[in-house]
Structures are given as structure tokens and as C-alpha cells.
Amino acid sequence: MGLTGLHFVMSETLGNLLRRKGETFWIIIAVTVSMMILGAFGLLLTNLQRSLGNVGEQVRVVVFLRDDLTPSQRSRLEEVFLHRPEVEKIRFVSKEEAYTEFTRSFSGNRELLAGIEGNPLPASYLLSLKETFRHGPDLERLSRNLSSLPGVEDLEYGKKWLERFEAIVTVVRITGIVIGSLLGISIILIIGTSIQKSVVRRREEFEVLQWVGATRTMIRMPILFEGALLGGASAACALALLACFFWTLQGHLNLNLPFAGLPPPVFFSREIMGGGLATGVGLGILGSFFVTNPVSRNHGA
């Protein structure tokens, strides 16, 4: 298709959309709403995954040691920890350090501190884990193996909390995929149906174009471009509206989330926004593609 052909296609596309302004407006509204729901799920998922990563960094296994542990036993244990494939680094916390930390944390509760005689806290090792081993089953296997070592009193890694968090992320991810697929299909149907309606109304137009020697591309491309423009415009509107909602809520969330131990929320990255726009364009093209096939068969001969 040459430059003149492209000019024809573009002017036909824009002309058709502008000639039915009302219809175009409502299609964009409907697709925007669907895409906003899709985007909201995406945003929730992105932030949940980010939180999981953040929580993951804090996932540590605390290995409490027996009080009667000799220095040689301790160094053997240290060697075992360092040779485990899951362990990234270790830190030894002596009984004294643990007590100092404890008194600092509960400095406001004098009664509690007064009730404690001596230093009941054990020495411990804090094991930081490599990223790939920060999941429930890995942690469970590691704690099972370490707890049987001589000199180990007890182990702790917040098992239930981590499992619950992972389950929530999985549920959100699956829900996101299901809802995303349904919304994707509905977007294709909305765009496809509305373009089909317009194609049926413009049947005579296609016939005229055919008789005056318009090529198949000239007849078909404006319909595909319409779909692409509708999908792209709706995706852009959905992103803009989501961004507005997000920034309105962001102030409130920034104040509260750190208290819940979660990082402040973030909006989509530029790459994801680009991907969102491309998805909108793609869904629009797909919707109009199913409509243009019969058109080109009947009229583009």
C-alpha cells in the first residue's frame, strides 16, 4: 500500500469514527470500563507480588541454640549453616545481644522487664535465605533438617503467616487470569459487535468502493484501523483514569501501609503501560478482524 493508499485508509478510518461520534463514544466508554477492571487487577497483582518480594527479603530462619553449647560445637554448626545451598548469609546473635535488643524493644514496659530474672534468652543464628528458597516448602524442609542438629534448641520462620500470604497471592493471580481472560473476550466482543453493526450499515458503501476499483486493502484496512484506534483509545483512557484513582488513593495508602509492614504502592512501569496500550490495540484489531473477513470475501473481490 502506497502513501496515497495509506492516506485513503487513514481518512476513511477517522471519517467513519467521527461520522458516528455517539456510537464511538459509547464503545470507548464500555471498553474503557472493562480495561479499567483489568488494569485494577493488574495493579493489585503487581503490588502484591512486590510485597511478597519485600516480605521475602525479611524471611529469615532463626535457629535458637542450647545454652550449654561449646565454642567448638558452635563453629561446627556455623560451618553446616554456611554450606547449606539455601543460606545466603548468617549472623550470630549472642545471649547478651538478644537481651539488649529485648530490653530496647520493651523499654516502655518496666513491669515486664522487672519480672525477668537474669538473661533467659538463648543465643541464636539468623539465617538469610537466597531468593529462590524463600517459599513455604523450602523453609519447612530446611527447618526440619536443621532442627535435628546437635546444639539446636528450636527454630522459627513465621510458617503460617508466610503460607497464608502465598495463598492470597496465588488466589489473586488465578482470579486475575480468569477475570482478565473474560474481560479480554468481552472487549473483543464489544469492539467486534459494534464494528460488525457499522459494517452491516455500510454494506452499500463497500459495494460502491468495490465498483470504483478500491483494493481489498483499502476496504479492509479502515475497519481494522477502527478496531485498533478504539482499543488503543480505550486502553489510554483506562490507564489515565486508573492513574488518577491511584494517585488519589496513594496519599492515604502511603500513610497506612508501612504500619502493616508492606511497601508503599507503585503504579505500572512505563513498559507495562506500553504493553497495556499494545494489548488494547491488539484486542481491537482482533475484534474487527473477525468482521473484516466476510467483508473482504464479499466486497473486496
Binding site: 485513503f8 452499500e204 458503501e205 460502491v208 465498483w211
Partner: protein
């Protein structure tokens, strides 16, 4: 040397001719579409003659068109139309006029036989060549088709827009054509707001704006009162004087007889007078 020179001339002529003949002119037959496809020597000669600007612009060789096994709309039609001719195609309703025109504009393929138009075998035209072929034609139907949501100006200009003509030329030519048909004051009106006769004038303007080689008109005055019919006929005559070949289908034998032009009469799918 002389021998070499004289033998080269026909060879060069033949090669240049070969290049002009499109591949599709000699494609192998599709038994489902046309059971007598192989171009005969006669057809090959006609193709080459037309490419050399022979007098004939349309030639039909044993053309038949059937719809199902029991209905033959056209039976073994062979005829020719010369360049610049004004030919009436008449016959009662159902005689095959519209079918014949539809074959000529390549809306359908003949069941049998071949049609050569301006050096092109259109019985086997590939879909990719269809637009190029139709750019040589002007097509007018009894029931005009329009771009409903566009003005008269846009309806006429669409022919040039679809053919990639620059905007400046489109504006000039469309304006001239509207003046020619006497609708310049209605250029911003929509087809729905025009009378039947004015609408038909718009379709004529759209068909002739790019000076077609052949104007194919199927009952163009069928729905019009006498005055508009006469106006349309006058426009056609004027166009014909400028060199456009016109094939005018009408069931009115009187109009054809009064014009004194060549008349092809069809009856039950066969040419009974030519």
C-alpha cells in the same frame, strides 16, 4: 544480417506482446467454475488484437452462465463491441441483460466461454487484478448505491480517492463533473435529501468522473420520469462523443429504436438480434 534483422522484428514484437498479456489470461481451468476454459486460438488472437488497439473493446466467445443444473441465464453468447460504440442491450425482463452486465463487470464468472475486455481475459480474472480492471469501467445501476452519510461531493469524489488521485485534482475534477451534471448547487446535500433523478445523476457522475473506457449501465433510467431519463441519456451521449464506449441495458425497445444506435436483443439468454 538481413535474415537476422527480419527475424528479430517479429520476435521482439512477440516478446513485448507476451509481456503485455497477463498470466491470468492463460491460467489453467478450474473445472468447477468454467468447463470450457482453455483459450482457443481465436481467443488468443482476440487478446493480442485488443492489446494492439484493435477496433473491438469487448468480445465474448460462447459465453454461458447457469445457476444450478436447471437454470441457464445465458446460453452460448458470442458477440463484440467496438471502441467508442454506444450499444443498447434490450430484451424482456429475465432475458439475461443484467447477468451479461454482471459478467462484464466481473461480479460473476461465466460457467462456460470467455470474455475479452480491452485486451484482458476477464473470465479468469484474479481477485488481485479486479480493482485494476474496474478502474477502466464506469458502472451505473438502476438502483443507485451511495455512501449514505456523505455529501454529494464526497459521493462523486470517492472514485478518485480510491484511485489515489491527489486532493487538488480531486477537488477540481469533482467540481467540474458536478457542474457537468448540473448538481453543483447540491454538492453539500446528502443522497437521502435528493430526488430519484438527482440521485441517479450522482451515480452517473461517480461512474464517469475518471473518464472510463467503458460505461456499463443497467437500466439507468428505469426508475426516472421522462425528463430525468432524457437528461441522463443526453449525458451518456455526450460522454460517448468524448470516446467512452457505452453499453446501455434497458427493457424499453422504444428508447433503443428511437436512438438509431446499435441494439443487441436478448431473449431467454440468447442473442436474437445484434
Amino acid at each position: 544480417m538481413i535474415f537476422f534483422g527480419t527475424s528479430t522484428v517479429p520476435f521482439v514484437l512477440y516478446s513485448s506482446m507476451r509481456n503485455k498479456v497477463a498470466k491470468e489470461d492463460f491460467l489453467l481451468p478450474d473445472p468447477h467454475e468454467n468447463d470450457n476454459f482453455f483459450p482457443t486460438l481465436e481467443v488468443k488472437r482476440a487478446l493480442l488484437r485488443q492489446k494492439l488497439n484493435s477496433p473491438e473493446i469487448v468480445q465474448m466467445f460462447g459465453v454461458s452462465k447457469s445457476y444450478g443444473p436447471n437454470f441457464a441465464a445465458l446460453k452460448e453468447i458470442s458477440m463484440g463491441i467496438d471502441r467508442g460504440d454506444f450499444v443498447f442491450l434490450t430484451g424482456p425482463s429475465g432475458s439475461g441483460k443484467t447477468t451479461l452486465l454482471r459478467l462484464l463487470i466481473a461480479a460473476e464468472q461465466p460457467t462456460k466461454g470467455q470474455i475479452i475486455v480491452n485486451g484482458r481475459n476477464i473470465s479468469r480474472l484474479q481477485s488481485s487484478s479486479m480493482p485494476d480492471y474496474r478502474r477502466q469501467l464506469g458502472i451505473v445501476f438502476q438502483q443507485g448505491k451511495f455512501l449514505a452519510r456523505r455529501t454529494v461531493f464526497d459521493n462523486v469524489a470517492v472514485t478518485l480517492r480510491a484511485r489515489g488521485v491527489p486532493n487538488r485534482v480531486i477537488k477540481k475534477k469533482t467540481w467540474e463533473t458536478l457542474q457537468w451534471i448540473g448538481l453543483e448547487d447540491k454538492k453539500d446535500a446528502y443522497p437521502l435529501h435528493l430526488s430519484e433523478g438527482e440521485r441517479q445523476k450522482v451515480t452517473v457522475a461517480r461512474a464517469v468522473i475518471d473518464s472510463p473506457l467503458i460505461l456499463v449501465a443497467d437500466e439507468p433510467t428505469g426508475n426516472l420520469d421522462e425528463n430525468f431519463a432524457a437528461e441522463i441519456y443526453k449525458l451518456f451521449e455526450e460522454l460517448n462523443r468524448k470516446g467512452t464506449t457505452i453499453l446501455f441495458a434497458t427493457h424499453s425497445r422504444t428508447l433503443a429504436d428511437r436512438s438509431g444506435k446499435r441494439t443487441i436483443v436478448l431473449r431467454q439468454g440468447q442473442v436474437v438480434e445484434s
